[in-house]
């Protein structure tokens, strides 16, 4: 099991396109992936779950991956967030 924390800098947070990209990236992996924002946790492969976290700009989220490709999964998701979903900060 791997865990990491990261700050979301994106303007709309995890909503709309960034949320969809995040879920798609999670779905590309076998591992069970959970995202935590404050007291709320959700399945990273669920658009509903991600939206329900209400992640806004500058929120710190924790991503937890468990499975055969947990390292890759975490790397991919962290990179996506770090690169601000490809948007300029």
């Amino acid at each position: 099991m791997q865990t990491t924390s990261i700050v979301v800098h994106n303007k709309v947070g995890l909503h709309a396109r960034p949320a969809a990209l995040f879920v798609q990236a999670a779905m590309a992996h076998q591992s069970k992936i959970t995202v935590t924002n404050g007291e709320k946790s959700g399945n990273a492969k669920s658009i509903i779950g991600i939206l329900a976290l209400g992640v806004q700009q500058n929120d710190k989220i924790t991503i937890n991956a468990d499975g055969t490709d947990e390292v890759e999964a975490l790397t991919a998701l962290t990179k996506l967030v770090e690169n601000n979903f490809g948007e300029p900060v």
């Binding site: 658009i47 329900a52 490809g86």
Partner: protein, 576 residues
């Protein structure tokens, strides 16, 4: 009974009198039965999901053609929700607790919708409607009810609803639909866009209290030009509107005659009225409605429908079929106009914070010469024997125009050396849709043959209002004095160089704008095919001098509201 008047946002022109048809979301009744095994119930759920995905894919394809990719993206989100693991888990645990699948789907989607709806941030909370729409679709499929929410309309009526879901708006295409009014929504809501596409009057943003007073059969006068809805109209009101309607239908008869003729002002100034279209099917429609040409042929659909960019042959065939359908009339082909808000899979886009200010339209083409050249070759080759024009979108500097023209020159040279036949006399123009292009219009006019004002984007860029953002929708004012001044500047600059100016934004078909545009000297109006007969008729009602006078009065006004009000008055004079 006294009449009540509600004011809303005028979303689509026209007057209609008729009974209300209150659209309530289809009430689905959950059957009473014993549950099958969890496995059996889940199997039904999975097959309903598959069916829902198919429906959504079909809706998306049809919306993509009619309303464009922004609206279509909503149905992609719905597809993601259908296959969402949280929904699946919520359904499964309910089945394990002994529920039947219909109850499980209904409860699970309602719970998830409520969860989204309870969120603090409005942006997130707005997804509640999407979740509910998806749950409703799944339940409907499970109950074996076909996808027809408003097609139950048996007689002509005005559709009244709190709001219409994206799925509702798609099923609204009934011959009985007279018009729409909704309590919620703005100029850019789905129903507003659809109404304009269908040429039906609509008023949106009426407020909830209006809805409480309307029931099925309530007599309504819907004035989509003024943005008012009158309930239980008094005989005098009715008479006034009836006479406006009668004159309108007499006009319609005249219009059908005038529409087959060229557009001229009352004193004989010739202007051109063309159509905005996206494929050959709508070219036929454009001709039927009296289009004298195509002022805007959108080419994006060729690019967005496929997983690879269309090759030269595919594009040639598509353009030729449009040229053929238009006969000998001129067709302005706009080169690829896409961006990060509607990216095709094969173009590598970074996620953009501001796709409307990002890598799009001519900027992509100038970075990707092979993509651009293929399109230019296809247009030039398809245009042999036809009257085609080329137009570059989103030009914001002289350099861009020069760079695009340089690519075009290369393409011509390549076609020459390959010995391929192509149209040699193809005029080249630009879309004027950035304030920068307006300010540089005098210089740009020296290096191209014509301008076409793209007022949707020009308004968005000038007023700094994202037209897809509902929260600022009311700030998107096409009749804003700033926009009108820019239009004047563009026309004046082009005319000084002896170049003509068209307009292919929604403003060109807006009745309130037509007299102003005539007065400013616009040479070509291009609009949705259905708006053409009325526009031609309206143009014929004004002399050049009167239009100039109107334009001058309007340009002296300082707010969009004053201009709107003044123009409603001007139109009433003509219509009465």
């Amino acid at each position: 009974m006294s009449e009540t008047i509600f004011k809303g946002i005028p979303a689509s022109d026209g007057i209609v009198i008729g009974p209300a048809f209150c659209h309530h979301p289809l009430q689905l009744e959950i059957p009473s039965r014993f549950p099958g095994s969890v496995q059996d119930e889940l199997r039904r759920f999975r097959s309903a999901c598959e069916q829902a995905e198919k429906e959504l894919e079909a809706i998306k394809a049809s919306v993509l053609r009619r309303s464009g990719p922004e609206t279509a993206a909503i149905f992609d989100a719905h597809k993601m929700m259908v296959t969402d693991p949280m929904l699946y888990d919520a359904v499964q645990s309910r089945l394990e607790a002994g529920q039947i699948i219909e109850t499980a789907v209904s409860d699970a989607s309602e719970e998830l919708a409520a969860m989204l709806g309870s969120m603090q941030d409005e942006l997130f909370a707005a997804r509640e409607a999407d979740m509910r729409d998806v749950g409703h679709r799944l339940l409907r499929i499970l109950l074996g009810i076909p996808d027809t929410s408003i097609n139950k309309l048996q007689a002509p009526a005005v559709i009244v609803a709190y709001d219409l879901t994206p799925s509702d708006t798609v099923s609204l295409q009934s011959g009985f639909t007279l018009g729409f009014c909704t309590a919620a929504g703005g100029l850019t809501s789905h129903v507003a866009i659809l109404a304009r596409t269908l040429g039906l009057p609509a008023v949106v943003g009426l407020g909830k209290q209006a809805l409480d007073q309307i029931s099925d059969g309530t007599k309504l006068v819907l004035d989509g030009t003024a943005g008012s809805v009158t309930l239980d109209p008094q005989p005098a009101t009715l008479q006034r509107y009836e006479s406006m309607r009668e004159k309108a239908s007499a006009r319609l008869a005249t219009m059908q005659i005038t529409s087959s003729k060229n557009a001229v002002t009352a004193d004989g100034r010739r202007v051109e009225v063309g159509a905005n279209i996206g494929d050959a099917d709508s070219a036929g429609e454009a001709v039927r409605f009296g289009a004298e040409g195509v002022g805007l042929l959108r080419t994006e659909f060729l690019y967005l429908q496929n997983t690879r960019p269309p090759d030269e042959e595919q594009q040639m065939a598509a353009y030729k079929s449009v040229f053929d359908a238009m006969g000998n009339r001129p067709v302005i082909v706009r080169t690829l106009d896409i961006g990060g808000d509607k990216p095709p899979a094969y173009l590598k886009f970074d996620v953009e914070l501001n796709p409307f200010l990002g890598w799009r339209a001519i900027r992509i083409c100038l970075d990707d010469h092979p993509l651009f050249k293929t399109q230019l070759r296809a247009i030039l080759r398809a245009a042999v024997g036809y009257r085609a024009l080329i137009m570059y979108p989103m030009i914001s500097s002289v350099e861009e125009l020069r760079a695009a023209n340089a690519v075009l020159a290369e393409v011509r040279a390549e076609l020459d050396s390959a010995g391929l036949d192509y149209a040699r006399e193809v005029p080249v123009g630009i879309m004027v849709e950035t304030p920068a292009a307006v300010m540089m219009a005098d210089a740009l006019a020296l290096e191209c043959d014509f301008f076409s004002l793209g007022t949707n984007d020009l308004t968005q860029y000038t007023l700094a209002v994202d037209r897809t953002n509902e929260r600022v929708a009311k700030l998107f004012q096409p009749l804003h004095p700033a926009v009108l001044r820019l239009i004047k500047k563009t026309i004046d600059a082009a005319h000084q160089q002896g170049k003509w100016v068209g307009m292919c934004g929604e403003l060109a078909g807006m009745q309130k704008a037509i007299p102003i545009l005539l007065g400013l000297g616009l040479d070509e109006f291009s609009m949705a095919p259905r708006s053409i007969p009325e526009a031609k008729w309206l143009i014929g009602k004004f002399t050049d001098a009167r239009a100039k006078e109107i334009a001058e009065l309007v340009l002296n006004k300082t707010t969009a509201a004053e201009i709107e009000e003044f123009m409603v008055g001007v139109l009433e004079e003509v219509i009465r």
